[in-house]
């Protein structure tokens, strides 16, 4: 029998591990600081598996296990509010938690190798543990205030980890930017929470809230839901609030893998999915969510086309995929027959979240492995042909890329397919189906672009002639971070950008402690989609969440999009292959592949030219343009808005001129104004 109190242990164990590591780390644990984290993660992981087992037991009537662990705080008064340490395990959280813990464990193991010799080793693992605690708290909490606590907690840990190499000014700037931008979202979230709370009879339990929210007026619901969505936008880097995510890549790569790909950024999706039954009551809001998701998906994909920084490509791809998930969530309305798509949309989004977490973590870790071996160089112009140098990493990256591109039997295909089906089904809804139609096509185009830029990165890094940057050799394989490592990463521009050698014998594959996690993730990234998707296991499991119902509705009318996405995806891969593999050694490689007497070389030549002129060049120009707009205009605009308070403050400073009597005058004037306002305000202002 599963004791409900054990749920509370899931966040508690990593929290304790974090406290332990931070306290004892610098003096006692030192380079062994990873142990508490790993033990805690494994422990929590096992508990969560037990929880799932209990959750799926047939004796359970409602698929949820709730644990109420006492009051956190309570206020008094006419409408008392009491916030408790309430945890709930239901299918949605039961899917998220083991995923988070599994990835955290794998990434922690990877970090042992990656962060080796870092002077702040204990701090890294301490904050990492706290992050895991906060993330699981976020997912498991039963009331929205606790959820918010977890939400802010992951934000802080993200801040600390992005700025982990604080000696780099760019890292510090990125950390601050991430914190401030997501905080804008947090303001929205908190307000939304409070509005919901006060509108729904002052309850904080999420299911009760959703239940009671049905009585709210449309405007109220729209406002509250919109504020929640702003919170999700900030955390999940959706269109207007996305500017922090690319910069967040300043942090150590395992951090990017865990936080900025697999877990924290998906918190927004999780939040919206949780509240989806509530949000479906406002179709306008759903449309907004879908549109924002669509815009983000295509924008990020376009920008990713032009990037040369491997990690940034992955970051933009994360943004794009998150946009996908929001698109799916936005499709949770009724279709033409009045059949509600809520469950279908939620499952599609969460399923993609699930598969994406695995393959994106794998991609990031592979990128980390590349960086590790290449002396922290990830500029695609300076590396190349690594498939022989880093064989394991190559396999890992290829698996991740296949999954991300959505090639048929692999994970990404199944979940992306569901999303596209969901959107297309929504486009047969009662109204506004035009928008959803456009979104379906946006999704398809994005799928093609995704495949293209993923494989562009893959081909550039692993194919072609062998290029190894000098840093990889001068620093050797290990110890690149002993006391200086930060400099090598952020002053890349100071080196000759194309400075590289082509002696593959000098570079080595990463140590086993890093490749092992990669290889563990490979089957997960490739097969997990097929395991859950076509078998409807995901639908059965998630659909049984309270507030949802398993939906095996017939969506065969939308099956065409699955084929279409396959076409787009494979097309993207093919173009990337042609452009980045075939072209350089065109004659040799193509002939080798074709093998026949067919005059491929000429033919290929035309194809290449046509593709370049018709698609690739315009797309790349578009990508550059969007990126320029994004970085130069939007970024600056945000900066300018951020500068308004300071500007205002400067205007008020001269009053503080140092003269006592001036201060007294201001006091007396203030007093008089208040008096006049109170005494005659009703006559003056009405």
């Amino acid at each position: 029998m599963f004791e409900p109190a054990a749920i509370a242990l899931i966040p508690l164990l990593p929290a304790l591990a974090g406290a332990l590591t931070l306290l004892l780390g610098p003096k006692i644990l030192k380079q062994q600081s990873h142990w508490p984290l790993i033990i805690a993660c494994v422990g929590s992981f096992l508990i969560s598996l037990l929880g799932i087992q209990a959750l799926t037991s047939p004796t359970l009537e409602i698929r949820q296990i709730v644990y109420q662990g006492g009051t956190w705080f309570a206020t008094l008064g006419s409408n008392p509010v009491s916030v408790g340490w309430d945890f709930r395990l239901d299918p949605i959280s039961a899917m998220m938690v083991p995923m988070v813990l599994f990835l955290a464990t794998v990434i922690a193991v990877f970090s042992i190798g990656y962060m080796k010799d870092d002077p702040a080793y204990p701090r890294y693992f301490g904050v990492f543990s706290i992050f895991v605690a906060a993330m699981t708290l976020l997912v498991l909490s039963d009331n929205i205030v606790l959820l918010y606590a977890g939400w802010e907690g992951v934000g802080v840990c993200s801040f600390l980890l992005i700025g982990f190499w604080f000696q780099k000014p760019s890292a510090l700037k990125a950390a601050r930017k991430a914190f401030m931008v997501t905080r804008i979202g947090d303001v929205g979230l908190l307000l939304g929470i409070l509005l919901l709370w006060s509108g729904c009879g002052f309850t904080l339990q999420i299911p009760t809230l959703i239940e009671k929210a049905k009585l709210l007026s449309d405007e109220y619901l729209y406002l509250a839901g919109f504020l929640l969505f702003i919170g999700a936008m900030g955390k999940s880097a959706q269109f207007p609030l996305h500017i922090w995510l690319p910069d967040a890549m300043e942090g150590p790569t395992p951090v990017s893998a865990l936080i900025h790909a697999a877990t924290m950024v998906t918190a927004g999706v999780y939040l919206i999915a949780r509240f989806l039954p509530l949000l479906t009551m406002s179709p306008d809001l759903l449309l907004l969510i879908a549109v924002i998701g669509g815009i983000t998906a295509i924008l990020a994909a376009l920008i990713a086309l032009t990037q040369n920084d491997l990690k940034r490509i992955l970051a933009y791809s994360t943004m794009s995929q998150l946009g996908y998930m929001f698109m799916a969530l936005g499709a949770g309305r009724s279709d033409i027959s009045g059949h509600s798509l809520v469950t279908f949309a939620m499952v599609a989004a969460m399923f993609h979240l699930f598969t994406h977490a695995f393959f994106k973590a794998l991609l990031f870790l592979s990128a980390g492995s590349v960086m590790h071996s290449m002396g922290h160089v990830i500029d695609l112009r300076r590396i190349g042909g690594l498939r022989t140098v880093l064989p394991f990493t190559h396999i890992a990256f290829l698996s991740g890329a296949l999954a991300l591109a959505g090639v048929l039997p692999f994970s990404g295909y199944w979940s992306k397919d569901e999303i596209l089906v969901a959107i297309d089904s929504a486009s047969h809804g009662p109204n506004r189906d035009g928008v959803y139609k456009i979104l379906t096509w946006l999704g398809l185009i994005t799928a093609g672009l995704t495949a293209f830029y993923t494989f562009r990165a893959y081909f550039l890094a692993f194919w072609g002639e062998v290029k190894i940057p000098v840093e990889a050799l001068s620093h050797g394989q290990h110890g690149h971070e002993n006391d200086h490592g930060y400099a090598s990463t952020h002053h890349e521009v100071n080196h000759d950008p194309y400075g590289s050698v082509s002696d593959p014998t000098k570079a080595h594959e990463s140590p086993w402690i890093m490749t092992l996690p990669l290889l563990v993730l490979v089957p997960a990234a490739l097969g997990i989609g097929a395991l859950f998707g076509p078998t409807h296991r995901m639908m059965d499991f998630l659909g049984s969440a309270p507030g949802f119902h398993a939906d095996h509705g017939d969506h065969s009318a939308s099956k065409w999009v699955a084929m279409a996405s396959q076409v787009f995806g494979l097309g993207g891969i093919a173009v990337a292959f042609l452009l980045y593999v075939a072209k350089p050694g065109m004659a040799v490689s193509i002939r080798k592949m074709a093998g026949s007497g067919y005059n491929l070389s000429l033919n290929r030549f035309y194809l290449d030219e046509i593709l370049t002129i018709l698609f690739v060049r315009p797309l790349q120009i578009l990508g550059w343009l969007i990126q320029a707009l994004d970085r130069e205009l939007w970024d600056r605009l945000v900066d300018a808005v951020a500068r308004i308070p300071a500007w205002l403050g400067d205007k008020f400073r001269p009053v503080q001129n140092g003269l006592v009597q001036f201060y007294a005058l201001a006091m007396a004037l203030g007093l008089t104004i208040f008096l006049v306002f109170l005494a005659f305000g009703d006559r003056l202002f009405r």
């Binding site: 009051t71 006419s78 802010e152 604080f166 601050r176 401030m180 400073r653 503080q656 006091m667 109170l678």
Partner: protein, 540 residues
Amino acid sequence: MNTDLTNLAPSPADFLASVSPAIPEFFLLALGSLVLLGGTFRQERPLWGWISFFGLVTAIALAVRPIVSVPLDGNPYNGPLVYDGLSQTLRILSFLCGAGLVLLGWEEGDSSHVAERSALVLFAAAGASLCVAANDLATLFLALELVSIPSYLTLFLARSDKNGRESTLKYFLLSIFSSAMMLFGFSYLYGITGSIRIPEILAVLAESSLSPVPEAVPAARLVGLVMVVAGLGFKVTAVPFHFYAPDVYQGTSHFGAAVLSTLPKIAGFAALARLTGLTYETNGGVFLPFESQPSYLFWILASVTMTLGNIIALWQNNLRRLFAYSGIAHAGYMLVALSVGREVGATGALAALVVYLWAYVSMTLGTFAIFIYLDKKSKHLEKVEHLNGLAKTDPIAGAILVLLLLSLIGLPLTAGFIGKLALVQCAIRRGLENAITEAHPTSELRLYVGLAVLILVNAAIGGWYYLRIMGALYFRKGKESPASNRSVAALLTGAACVVVTIAVGVLPALVTRGIGEVPSQIIKTNVLVGESQDKPVDNH
């Protein structure tokens, strides 16, 4: 109406019952006098420091577990002091704060005035604590002065250079100016209601505001209200009565700033809470001390104060000046509680105020404690840059400071978060409650939901400059200075403040216990208004 003189004054038994819980304060006053006297004979750091510290510890113990308790027959609000939940929690806060300040004053400055410094903290802590419990205007006034006068002296002792003098002068002059304003307000409050006892004043005002004739409400009450708010606004640094704070903090030492930013604010907010009637459920449970104008006044004060404090803080480079503005911004948040108080029910707003006050005091005191500790180490800590690389050179102090900054930003599991959450929640509740009950809901709804948004926006702006400090802790290498004479006491105070911050953040019920509970049944105020007085008395 009372015609009996003896009825006006509490009976001796009630008087004793009302005053007997104040034994800790009397003890502190006596101890303060002793230390002051003893300081003329010996000036030894450990001696007077320990005596004062243990005096405060004893006071806390006495406050938590009173040794004398005189049973109260009559009205608990009849005596000069009232000991309800609010007094209890805030007096413990004052004493704790005083204990921290004694530890900080321990090694601050030259050794020749250590006894005086400790004694002044004792007096000020007792004053703040009495202020929290004061039930009549005279006691309140004297208790406030008991905070102010030691503050002048502390400022004077804190630094003897030109800037120190200037800050003493500024604080002194503006303080007497503001207290003159406050007294003018007191005189009107007394005059309108005929009593200096706060519950009676409120009861009369409440009753008159229920009058069907709008003219029947004396207009002069507004003079009383505005003047009192102006005078107390000075103590709590509400804009536009805040101007002294940045200059004075900058000119004095870290210790002086720590004293100024804590005890007067506790006293000021407690006095405001009492005078606006947050603590008294008068009129048979109907909570109606004033009409809506005061809450709009506080609305304006709160919004202007928090915004101005935050936006000017963005420009500050001097640490104490920065924290002066930060204190102004936090005062703005706390004023929100006073603005929403009337509608939300006293206890909700009051609890929010108390939690935030605890949070604010522990965060600020802790921050200054770390500054004192570092100052002691490197002898030079004025600018934000001087904190550079602290995380590396002194990880413990750095960690404490980071935690305090997180609380100042208002992140969950810290007291700063709970306080802000409670305030925002109160504001929203007020807006919505009126939206349901009032005929013209929109303006109220907009006003108070707007206020909630403003708090959150301000918290975001505030995050910016706290993050700047956090950046300084990590950014670049600081100059490693030889650790000369570390002040362990200051470091311990900082750590204790972190503990309090987190304890309040995790279990705010610790400090809100008993708030809003009236010591006895509903109070029947012996009000001096009513028909009997409206009738002209024509005996002759």
